[in-house]
Symmetry: C2
Subunit: 392 residues, 2 copies
């Protein structure tokens, strides 16, 4: 039964562009070639723009036949690459858009090749040898914007017949579609990595920003990181025990809020921040401003509301006795209510130069006692559960 | 002359996926349809996943004929969308993979339509009316993963003949390829936007991080922003006057270094930072540590070397009399040498509570006088040039 190559090509190319993982794409294409055409094996040499070189990306055969490993990198002067890359050799493949091993010998003795003193004959000998080493009987190039992007390496057919013109045309069209799809996937991949890297940089900068306060406030070493961890753990527990459901993005926003909850203290004078004794009324007024100042400092970031709420309202009290707005009960944003419990727990249990921190059991009792007055009961309950699990 | 639709399709689809601007892609496809097929006009309705609705994206005609503006949004219950989206109506278009206006009337009187009480007849009437309003004689749907993504709206042919089956098949195949290419472009576009947004967030967070020191150091209001601007201006001038060439990325790295050059001051006590008189020896030793501390603070960011150099070495002196490492001449990284000039110029010209800033002319003279001793002469020269241009 004759294969309808036009149809095969359409089916194969269809959907290629929606696979945005270059490795997977190459794997699928090579597997398809091997299966549909009954080859012993096939492989693909692909240009890597980052390395400015060519790499053998996959070598797959249904049988033991395969391209020897170790031949993975091909520089631009490698015979198989050179013969397809450099314009002066293009005439060699013009008629078939592929190099088939049985043709190479014929080519070597062509009049034009012998007369031409530029080493074509020598190059063809090397290509022949390289194809033997790679167990390949045909090479099919594909270009993108005139640059060699892909060379398909084809092994023998199972029935040991030679390639027909329509088969080579099919390979050529397929390689060309594949080249474009692979280029698309490569671009996608690098864009995805860029987006991820930028996001990671943003988060890391938030971490650094959050830690600046620790350079100033002698009592807060590690406080920011611990409060953030407690807050995220509490929120998880609230989901686990069914007392809350959070939208996508909540956990990242809570994480950012935790890191930045005390950032406003940057604006509080060190004499107040580091005072050992009780603050005077005036000093306390300045100290309390850190919630508002925090929001002002991060204003240029246009952070999500949940982040800003966590920074601004983490000193509100469930009974309305907190600051800066004396919000009450459910009126206190949940991210702030969570940070409030996490913050208080860490403040109680941390050592200070002038006093030792409370035992965690005592601090936990204190949180429970103030559930419903200072703290949101749902949050206090979640805190109790993770405390009892021993993960805090 | 008969058009070879297979070939046209191949040419048209080729390269579609490498256009990653959805708007441009749609424009090209619609223009191609209009020109090749001799239509009065054509347009495309496209699904927008963000809006969860369909939008008429372009309406292009060679003549005055075009789809009236104002019909840009189509919700899922809109007749033309509904007839292609909902499974129960798929039988209506199964045979031709398109709805042609002259067929609709015939369909309305089909036995199965009349017998079926689900409002098919009514819907077809509405589709007919909507197509008239849109000046269209044929609608061709395209799906991606089973979801309706595109509806091509076709106007009359110039020769006023009706569409043949091979033409409709061509449109259907083209719409299907276009749907995939557009989806690819949309994904690309949103990924690009995400990467840009994340990068912008990172830079904004660096700005905030850099400005934290100003909350602490009473004398530095606006200093960070000005030094950063001067530094970038100087570097540009060095390129303009041919005294330097910078790699891609240098300007952004210099910008980041400018914003963060004094970040280490976060770790210097306020009593030293804000002292009006001369610092004692011990105080000066602590003050000088801000260069090293700065690099420590930003360590988690793994910033490029140029950024770190700018932070660490902006107090080095060309003659080796600076700190922290007493580097000399060309041994001082260029980003640091640039920030050094910018920093000194701004420190001299800024008002302080206990003294007025120097006039810019005087400060500029001072920079010139110290060219070759404190400052890299190339940098001092560029500074002089922009000063003379009056842009500083």
């Amino acid at each position: 039964m004759k294969i309808d190559y036009k149809k095969e090509l359409e089916t194969a190319s269809k959907g290629m562009i929606m696979i945005h993982d270059p490795k997977l794409l190459i794997k699928l294409i090579v597997r398809m070639i091997v299966r549909k055409l009954g080859l012993r094996h096939a492989a693909m040499i692909l240009f890597d723009p980052n390395e400015d070189a060519y790499f053998l990306d996959i070598s797959r055969g249904e049988t033991g036949h395969k391209i020897p490993s170790g031949f993975t990198r091909f520089d631009k002067k490698s015979p198989i690459i050179k013969v397809f890359r450099e314009k002066e050799f293009k005439c060699l493949t013009l008629d078939r858009s592929a190099l088939v091993s049985q043709d190479i010998h014929r080519l070597i003795w062509k009049e034009s090749v012998i007369e031409n003193g530029n080493g074509t004959k020598d190059l063809l000998h090397k290509v022949e040898k390289q194809m033997q080493t790679l167990n390949s009987v045909a090479c099919v190039p594909a270009y993108y914007h005139g640059d060699l992007l892909v060379v398909l390496l084809l092994g023998e057919k199972f029935d040991e017949t030679s390639f027909e013109q329509d088969e080579l045309d099919f390979f050529s069209a397929l390689a060309s579609d594949a080249a474009m799809a692979i280029r698309n996937a490569q671009l996608f991949d690098s864009l995805k990595k860029e987006a991820d890297r930028n996001h990671e940089l943003f988060i890391q900068t938030i971490v650094v920003l959050g830690s600046t306060i620790e350079a100033k406030d002698a009592y807060t070493h590690g406080h920011t990181a611990r409060v953030t961890k407690y807050a995220v753990d509490i929120a998880h527990q609230m989901v686990v025990n069914g007392s809350a459901e959070f939208e996508k993005g909540f956990f990242e926003n809570l994480y950012i809020a935790g890191l930045l909850h005390d950032i406003g203290k940057i604006g509080v004078p060190e004499v107040i921040l580091n005072k050992r004794g009780k603050l005077t009324n005036d000093e306390y007024i300045i100290m309390k401003q850190h919630t508002i100042k925090g929001v002002e400092i991060v204003k240029p970031l246009s952070l999500p509301k949940e982040c800003l709420d966590g920074i601004k309202y983490h000193h509100e009290s469930f009974d309305g006795a907190g600051y800066p707005e004396a919000l009450q009960g459910a009126g206190i944003p949940i991210s702030a209510a969570i940070i409030s419990v996490a913050d208080t727990f860490d403040a109680m249990t941390s050592d200070r130069p002038y006093r030792k921190g409370l035992k965690k059991e005592i601090a936990m009792e204190e949180i429970e006692n103030k559930s419903g007055t200072q703290f949101n009961p749902i949050v206090a309950q979640a805190m109790k559960e993770i405390f009892e699990k021993g993960t805090i």
